[in-house]
């Protein structure tokens, strides 16, 4: 579980986060949603320690992560995996070397054990046989899968995903969402996903946090989205007239039932 306490972040005169309080629960896919510029990426980077908050604290279990120095953070970071928006794979390494990197760096496994772990992880994300391909030789969806494989190869307690669906077609996006959801349940991970993909919200949003101009506007699960009266949430989720008509039709049917 990750607890966010009154996180504020200011860049010059600009207040990007204005006191966020929330909890990301274990075994669930916790979503951070919001319009561009709402502060989603900044919050995610504060969670993993890439950006320090101006004030407030992040708790991983009973440990105040924000109070730790870089060396002390290593223990928590060994329990983190992160999928970046652009996958952030190492260009000079092939798929297998990318996934093996955390094993090489942080474990004392034998070469055989590493090979078995990498192969089973690649198989889990549906990339068996892609070991020797380089990032430039595979599609965006496959790159995301390799990124996920690298993030979970050390079996982390916390998984962070920054825009996992960006640049992907709807079908591939759904497959990536399903994969993240399954891995979260399988490994009882605390998964935090930063997204503005509405399919993700409605398919895998166990807990949804809506940011609006740096403030936490709404919190709930995907079922509560439909029935919520929050105008910001409704405007954001059902942004197009088409989606609004769909929502109205769905609510009408529920009423008829």
């Amino acid at each position: 579980m990750i607890r966010v306490e009154n996180i504020k972040r200011q860049f010059g005169e600009q207040h990007v986060l204005k006191g966020i309080n929330t909890v990301f629960e274990a075994g669930k896919t916790n979503l951070i949603i919001g319009r561009s510029g709402a502060g989603k990426t900044v919050l995610l980077k504060i969670l993993v320690g890439l950006i320090p908050p101006t004030s407030g604290s992040i708790w991983y279990g009973d440990v105040n992560f924000t109070a730790l120095n870089i060396k002390q953070r290593k223990a928590i970071r060994s329990e983190m995996g992160m999928l970046f928006q652009g996958s952030a794979l190492f260009d000079s390494m092939n798929v297998e070397e990318n996934v093996r990197f955390p094993l090489d760096m942080f474990t004392n496994m034998t070469s055989k054990e590493k090979k078995m772990t990498v192969d089973s992880t690649l198989e889990r994300v549906g990339l068996s046989g892609a070991n020797v391909k380089y990032p430039s030789e595979i599609s965006g969806g496959m790159q995301k899968r390799v990124g996920i494989a690298r993030a979970i190869v050390l079996k982390p307690k916390y998984l962070f995903c920054d825009e996992p669906n960006s640049g992907l077609d709807p079908t591939t996006s759904l497959l990536i969402d399903e994969l993240i959801k399954e891995l979260t349940v399988e490994n009882n991970m605390t998964t935090v996903i930063n997204t503005h993909d509405m399919n993700s919200v409605m398919e895998i949003g166990d807990k949804i946090n809506l940011l609006y101009f740096g403030e936490l506007e709404w919190t709930g699960n995907r079922k509560e989205v439909m029935s919520s009266n929050n105008a910001v949430l409704q405007d954001f989720i059902f942004a197009s007239p088409f989606l609004q008509r769909l929502r109205d039709a769905a609510l009408k049917n529920v009423g008829n039932l």
């Binding site: 890439l50 953070r73 970071r77 995996g81 652009g86 952030a88 190492f90 260009d91 090489d104 760096m105």
Partner: protein
């Protein structure tokens, strides 16, 4: 300027922290040694041969009609190459080739969030990305400088003999005359200092890249320009201190 100097010093200090895993750092150091050393052999060899040859032709021209013995050309080329031209020209050429490459490599990693990915994994990024490059550079570049000195003398020999400026025996006599081993020490001090400077400045320029491809190109150019200026400044300081 003081902001950059302070940040540069902090980055270089932080790059010498304890490695997470020695074998991974060694692997990276070996890769860098190959890139810097083997990858630069041809360019350094060519540059050095021509520098030696040009130096020989210029000195022969200046010695014309003087009472200085002809064999002095060999002696002058040897000491010029050892004391000044081999370390300085080699490192100026490497700042252009290796320095810009390092700045672009690290800067590209920054832009593609690869450095962030390493950081989230718990890797000390300054240490993992910079220390192997520094160790590789201060190990391999002095070897390249020795090669450069020999290639420069070979270039001078070829220019003298083929151009009939002096005889081969006169040139060889000059090469063997008045040798001071301290000059080789001076050459190695210069090459180690220059190697450290060009690598650390290039890594610094790449490590803090922000923005897009224009900023990356600018960082790469800055790496070369700043390295060249600082190498020449350091050359002057070493000359003042050690000669």
């Amino acid at each position: 300027m003081f902001y950059h100097l302070g940040r540069y010093i902090l980055l270089i200090f932080s790059s010498f922290s304890k490695p997470e895993k020695l074998s991974m750092y060694w692997k990276e150091t070996a890769r860098q040694m190959n890139d810097i050393g083997v990858g630069s052999l041809i360019i350094i060899g060519l540059v050095s041969v021509f520098i030696g040859a040009v130096t020989a032709v210029q000195f022969a021209y200046q010695l014309q009609g003087s009472s200085i013995p002809a064999y002095y050309i060999g002696y002058i080329i040897r000491d010029t190459m050892i004391i000044e031209l081999a370390p300085t020209f080699t490192c100026l050429a490497l700042a252009g080739k290796v320095g810009s490459n390092m700045a672009a490599e690290i800067g590209g990693m920054r832009q593609k969030e690869q450095i962030d990915a390493l950081e989230v994994m718990g890797v000390d990024t300054a240490s993992y990305l910079i220390m192997p490059k520094l160790l590789a550079a201060v190990t391999v570049i002095p070897m390249l400088v020795i090669l450069s000195a020999f290639m420069g003398m070979a270039g001078g020999y070829l220019a003298c003999v083929l151009g009939k400026l002096v005889t081969a025996s006169d040139f060889m006599q000059g090469l063997r005359s008045f040798f001071i081993p301290y000059n080789v020490f001076l050459m190695q001090v210069k090459s180690i200092v220059f190697a450290f400077l060009l690598t650390s400045i290039s890594c610094y320029q790449g490590f803090y890249v922000k923005g897009g491809s224009i900023e990356l190109g600018r960082a790469s150019t800055n790496a070369v320009v700043m390295s060249n200026i600082v190498i020449l400044l350091a050359d002057y300081i070493i000359a003042m201190l050690l000669t």
